[in-house]
């Protein structure tokens, strides 16, 4: 199973009534979608509102999703429409960025800096989380760091990483997990476990 198949599995479960499966998809894509929609709206609270609205619309439209495109591609279009409608309803116009409607979700790699769309408090939290992840990455042994970088940033599969790092797939599996586990250990205290503050 690849990345697309895992999304497909979750979609199918959600289509069969498993709401938790949809929440897993939301957890995976909320930041990516949020960042996209923050180009339309500046206020942090508004961004979250519109993002959640988009996810709810996607949930309602899920029965008509047949897997012809990747889930995020489909979600992306719903997100754009939601943001536009939101602005129209508020009497505001969408920003006229070039080629915006035509960007293909999956391939969109934006080198642009993170927009300053956060309230001071959440901005601080967000920065702290990013800093913690970077710090934990620096502390990793080189082979773990390489494996997780190839997986998360380059998007290579386990087999491809095994080929690049010249080691068995089992080793790749283990390195990626150990990297994640080590970073998560540093991250978890920050994330907390209160039920109403789930990230």
């Amino acid at each position: 199973m690849g990345d697309r198949e895992i999304d497909q599995q979750l979609v199918e479960r959600a289509q069969r009534g498993d709401k938790r499966a949809f929440e897993l998809l939301v957890s995976k894509y909320q930041r990516k979608l949020g960042r996209l929609l923050s180009r339309f709206v500046r206020d942090a609270a508004e961004v979250e509102d519109v993002t959640q609205e988009a996810f709810i619309k996607a949930y309602r439209a899920l029965p008509s999703f047949r897997g012809e495109s990747a889930f995020y591609t489909w979600l992306y279009r719903i997100g754009i429409n939601t943001a536009k409608n939101y602005l129209v309803a508020l009497g505001r116009r969408a920003p006229t960025t070039t080629g915006f409607d035509n960007e293909e979700a999956e391939g969109f790699e934006d080198a642009e800096q993170l927009r300053d769309v956060s309230t001071p408090e959440s901005e601080l939290e967000g920065k702290e989380i990013a800093a913690t992840v970077n710090h934990a990455m620096d502390a990793l042994p080189a082979d773990l760091r390489t494996a997780i970088t190839l997986r998360e940033i380059e998007g290579l599969s386990y087999e491809e990483i095994a080929s690049v790092m010249n080691c068995p797939v089992g080793t790749v599996r283990s390195r990626i997990f150990r990297a994640r586990d080590a970073i998560a250990a540093e991250l978890r205290p920050l994330l907390g476990t209160e039920k109403d503050r789930r990230w």
Binding site: E104, E106, G107, F108, E160, S163, V164
Partner: protein, 326 residues
């Protein structure tokens, strides 16, 4: 060690043909010269022989059959390929020009003959690359399409390439079956004649397209190379070992867009790199597959980079990530 054979009782000259091919049967693994020579022989046979047959094309668990006719009329080649399953398709090759007919959408695609179409033989560099990166060896004898073929294998020495197995008619050298396989020995793609007549008398009528050369109410899509013969200025910074650039030029693809086209080859397979300004239409980014060809599409600044070839996904991806201007 030379393979010893009793002469075939009904075709006494089989023994001679085998001896003629014996120089290739020198060792379990063969040298760079042998690999290059073997490929040359197969290419020569594909070009010079007359043959007609039915091909089974297998990829991704699917089978499609087609009918293939090839005629060499005093040095001029004519070829016709008609699929027998699914939507009607026809490929006609004549004087180096290739036409693909899509009757359901009334489109004919034309690939004109270019000076680059001339029969390229491998450079010494590519010849060396062949056995630097593949182990070329003889495999068993097998009956394919009624012919006692000799099988040959190019085994990759690294994970950046697929394995290739070919079954050739010993007397003509013509390939009757070709298989691309991955590291788990699973078939990536296979072309196999299920019936074939080599050396048959072929009529010009048999290689003419079913439709007129340019049907009147059809759309013609021409993919012309640019008249300007200059290099594109693009390159692949870190091609996989053994891959050498063999083509560098612009072509005009659909919508008359000028697209930079680079081709890298290790002697056995090729990878094409297309670079063009990103258009307004949506593109399927990432990895996909079409038959034995893996495709990787990504955006780089304002450009769309499309890499495709008969190599594993990791390889097309690696190439796509190292495209740069010289």
């Amino acid at each position: 060690m030379i393979a010893m054979r009793r002469p075939h009782p009904y075709l006494p000259w089989i023994g001679q043909a085998l001896l003629a091919a014996a120089w290739l049967v020198l060792a379990p693994t063969a040298s760079a010269d042998d690999a290059a020579a073997w490929l040359d022989r197969a290419a020569d046979a594909a070009q010079k022989q007359n043959y007609v047959g039915t091909i089974a094309y297998q990829h991704g668990g699917r089978f499609e059959t087609s009918r293939l006719v090839h005629l060499n009329d005093q040095g001029r080649e004519y070829e016709k390929l008609v699929n027998l399953d699914g939507p009607a398709r026809e490929v006609i090759r004549m004087n180096g020009e290739v036409r693909c007919y899509f009757p359901d959408t009334k489109i004919v695609r034309v690939e004109p003959r270019t000076f680059r179409n001339a029969f390229p033989s491998l450079s010494p560099q590519q010849q060396a690359a062949l056995t630097d990166f593949y182990t070329f060896r003889m495999a068993g004898r097998e009956r394919v399409a009624g012919i006692e073929t000799q099988a040959w294998v190019f085994e990759p020495k690294d994970g950046l390439r697929y394995g290739h197995k070919f079954w050739a008619d010993p007397s003509s050298g013509l390939l009757v079956k070709a298989r691309i396989f991955d590291e788990r020995n699973e078939t990536v793609e296979q072309f196999a004649f299920t019936e074939i007549a080599i050396g048959a008398k072929i009529d010009r009528e048999q290689v003419k397209p079913t439709w007129p050369v340019t049907p009147p109410d059809w759309k013609v899509r021409q993919s012309a190379p640019s008249e300007d013969a200059k290099d594109t200025g693009w390159t692949v910074m870190r091609p996989p070992p053994g891959f050498v650039k063999i083509v560098d030029g612009y072509r005009r693809l659909r919508d008359a867009r000028e697209v930079a086209h680079l081709v890298y080859s290790d002697g056995l397979v090729a990878v094409s790199v297309f670079i063009e300004p990103i258009a307004t239409a949506a593109h399927p980014f990432g990895v996909s597959r079409q038959g034995g060809i893996n495709v990787f599409v990504r955006q780089q600044d304002d450009n769309l980079v499309t890499v495709l070839g008969e190599v594993p996904i990791a390889t097309v991806r690696q190439i796509a990530h190292s495209v740069a201007r010289r």
